[in-house]
């Protein structure tokens, strides 16, 4: 059985018209603890999947926007266990139709490695507990930006036993042969980092910094990848999404949504404007 095939299907279904499907990212518990469930419900209608960011004290692949939202979320008391409890309650409520969440999209957790390996005690059994908790909460996939393919075996094995997948990332500096290996190991979709840099930059600046054109990079990934390709980092506007049409299956929107939330704007409206 292919792990997280329903996530691939959801992305492909929503990108059938040629425009990339949208995958929003939010930091859990930002700006307030109680923001999470409302944000998920509001984003769901426009999302092929939703990425839920687990805040970490040392987010080394993130720019100032997500550093800030992570800091705030940690100050609010967010933990991985709390997030899983919240998601579990929402998913269960949905199944019992007591608290309906229309078209619940697949849930994807985005976390640095340490909260993942350290929230459920120590040792190999902690990975099993983590994987079970993910399944129990309705999480389909994990994305871990500081877990390269070579280090992913132990965790992937435990996640797969619970039917949960692990997404791998490629970057513009990843050589072709390596990108192929990574794509074949990635569950659900392949995360194509569009910039050589941290989150929160803007796409035009990023394109200038990269030797290959971003679209050529995405095209080549799409050719070699058995799973849908989602582009992420620096996608902030409808125009950015327009420019990606035909070159990838999904577009991940993160910092732009966090900025909107920070300014008190409606992230769902921003996302809807990009569909």
């Amino acid at each position: 059985m292919t792990i997280a095939k329903h996530v691939s299907d959801s992305i492909l279904r929503r990108s059938a018209r040629g425009r990339p499907a949208l995958v929003p990212y939010i930091t859990a518990g930002f700006p307030k603890l109680e923001s999470l469930s409302a944000q998920l419900r509001a984003l769901a209608p426009h999302a092929a999947a939703i990425e839920i960011g687990v805040p970490f004290s040392d987010p080394m692949a993130d720019g100032v926007t997500i550093q800030g939202s992570s800091r705030k979320a940690l100050d609010n008391g967010v933990t991985l266990r709390w997030i899983l409890d919240q998601l579990g309650a929402m998913t269960a409520g949905n199944q019992q139709a007591t608290e309906h969440w229309p078209q619940q999209p697949p849930l994807v957790l985005m976390s640095y490695l340490n909260p993942v390996i350290s929230s459920f005690g120590a040792g190999r059994s902690s990975l099993r507990s983590l994987a079970q908790a993910c399944r129990g909460s309705g999480v389909s996939l994990l994305i871990i930006p500081d877990l390269p393919l070579e280090e992913s075996g132990e965790l992937r094995e435990q996640l797969h036993l619970q039917g949960v997948g692990l997404v791998q990332l490629v970057s513009p500096v990843t050589p072709q042969a390596r990108a192929r290996t990574i794509a074949h190991a990635s569950d659900g979709f392949l995360y194509a980092v569009t910039v050589t840099g941290v989150t929160g930059g803007s796409a035009p600046a990023a394109a200038a910094a990269t030797a290959v054109s971003p679209n050529r990079y995405l095209d080549s990934l799409r050719e070699l990848s058995p799973v849908p390709v989602c582009a992420g980092f620096g996608i902030r506007t409808r125009a950015h999404v327009d420019a990606l049409a035909g070159h990838c299956d999904g577009a991940i929107v993160g910092s732009a949504l966090i900025d909107a939330i920070d300014k008190g704007q409606d992230p769902a409206a921003l996302l809807a404007s990009m569909v």
Binding site: M60, A61, I117, S118
Partner: protein
């Protein structure tokens, strides 16, 4: 044999043998379960390129000759081994000091900065970035960049910029751009976060000259390799008739990330008679929770690219640390130290701010040397041990001089 973070360690003697015979770090960059390469994909090419370049360079006699030349004429190696006559009398032991404080720029950090800057030339990059805590690594890197013609940017926590002013000015005079880091806890750990972010933006055109035995493989191994000159010289100097003409009974180094310590320890790991101690920052004391005693209070986790002991909460968040010494104020520790701790070859002991300050005063008054606050932690740990082991021979790595600490000492040492 393949290792992963939950690999079991075997018999301690066997495991130590693996380390000494070069089987660790293994092909996956691990010392048993510890170490590894937990980096964003964007950095994968850079760290693997660095590893291959380092292996080639270290096998090249021309590289060794050039390194030795710079060590002799620019760094001032070998640094002296000195019998501390007055401390010896006061403690009832034979106390020896390895004078890394006399190395160019005032600390052991130059050993690694020089070696990595030479490697960066071979990588063909033009830009070097570094993090710094106490500012010693920043100064050493800035100096090496000035001499070898690299542009240099140093990330330094805003808190450390305040408490290590003299070093900030020195870096600027060497032509480095010093960037104060206000994110996170604004100390060494945040400076490393920020340097990593910089590196992710230009992984192939920039070399990240990491200053301690931490980070993803190959850094812990590479930094140890360049710092091992301390232990190699020390062992020879102790054994020589001009020295103690014997091995020490116990060796002491302070441990922040662990670079001076790992360099010193490697001279003596294979000598079963030599006890080895690392002094960690005990801050205001165990009971307060305000310390940076990673071995005493941490548990394994991943930060800054490797799996090692880490001060963290139950949810995997790295916690705030506290130490009077900027160089030891770090919630992690190099993976090779985690390994040496796990197999019991090295004992790690916390030393408080006050004990370190008392040691600064004692070394000043007894030996006419102003030590940095970091190695004063090692001095304090050695003193406690010496009092319990009269007549023993003790070696302390005096890894830096205290001029940089003047602003703090003028407030705290009255």
């Amino acid at each position: 044999m393949t290792t992963a973070m939950h690999s079991e360690l075997g018999d301690p003697a066997l495991e130590l043998g693996r380390l000494l015979s070069g089987q660790y770090p293994d092909a996956r960059g691990r010392f048993g379960p510890f170490g590894g390469r937990y980096v964003p994909e964007t950095l994968w090419g850079a760290i693997t390129r660095l590893e291959s370049a380092a292996k080639l360079a270290l096998a090249d006699p021309a590289f060794a000759t050039e390194l030795a030349f710079h060590q002799r004429t620019w760094v001032g190696r070998p640094t002296p081994m000195m019998r501390a006559a007055n401390l010896s009398t006061a403690w009832g032991c034979n106390v020896w000091l390895k004078r890394e404080d006399l190395a160019h720029t005032g600390a052991h950090k130059i050993n690694n900065a020089l070696g990595q800057a030479m490697l960066a030339k071979r990588l063909g990059v033009t830009r070097i970035i570094a993090e710094t805590g106490a500012g010693q690594h920043g100064v050493a890197t800035a100096a090496a960049c000035a001499r070898m013609g690299f542009t240099c940017r140093v990330y330094m926590g805003a808190v450390d910029v305040e408490r290590q002013q003299p070093n900030v000015q020195r870096m600027k005079w060497f032509g480095a751009e010093v960037v104060p880091v206000t994110s996170g806890d604004a100390t060494l750990r945040a400076a490393i976060d920020e340097a990593m972010r910089d590196w992710v933006c230009d992984p192939m055109g920039t070399h990240y000259l990491l200053g301690s035995a931490v980070g993803p493989h190959p850094f812990p191994w590479l930094v140890r390799t360049f710092q091992s000159v301390i232990g190699t010289e020390s062992r020879e100097q102790m054994l020589s008739p001009a020295g103690a003409a014997r091995l020490p009974d116990a060796v002491f180094s302070c441990v922040g990330g662990g670079s001076n310590a790992i360099g010193m320890f490697h001279g003596f790991l294979a000598d079963p008679s030599v006890l080895i101690y690392g002094a960690e920052a005990g801050g205001r004391g165990d009971a307060t929770g305000q310390h940076a005693a990673t071995m005493a209070h941490g548990r394994p986790g991943v930060m800054h690219g490797s799996y090692s002991y880490l001060l963290q909460d139950d949810h995997g968040q790295v916690v705030k640390t506290s130490s009077i010494s900027a160089g030891l104020d770090y919630p992690g520790i190099g993976p090779e130290h985690a390994f040496l701790h796990a197999i019991g070859r090295v004992q790690y002991v916390p030393v408080t701010d006050q004990q370190a300050l008392d040691a600064v005063r004692e070394v000043c008054r007894s030996e006419g040397i102003l030590p940095a606050i970091e190695p004063s932690h090692a001095v304090a740990a050695a003193k406690a041990w010496a009092k319990a082991n009269p007549g023993a021979t003790v070696l302390i790595n005096l890894c830096g001089r205290g001029d940089k600490d003047m602003p703090i000492l003028m407030k705290n040492l009255v």
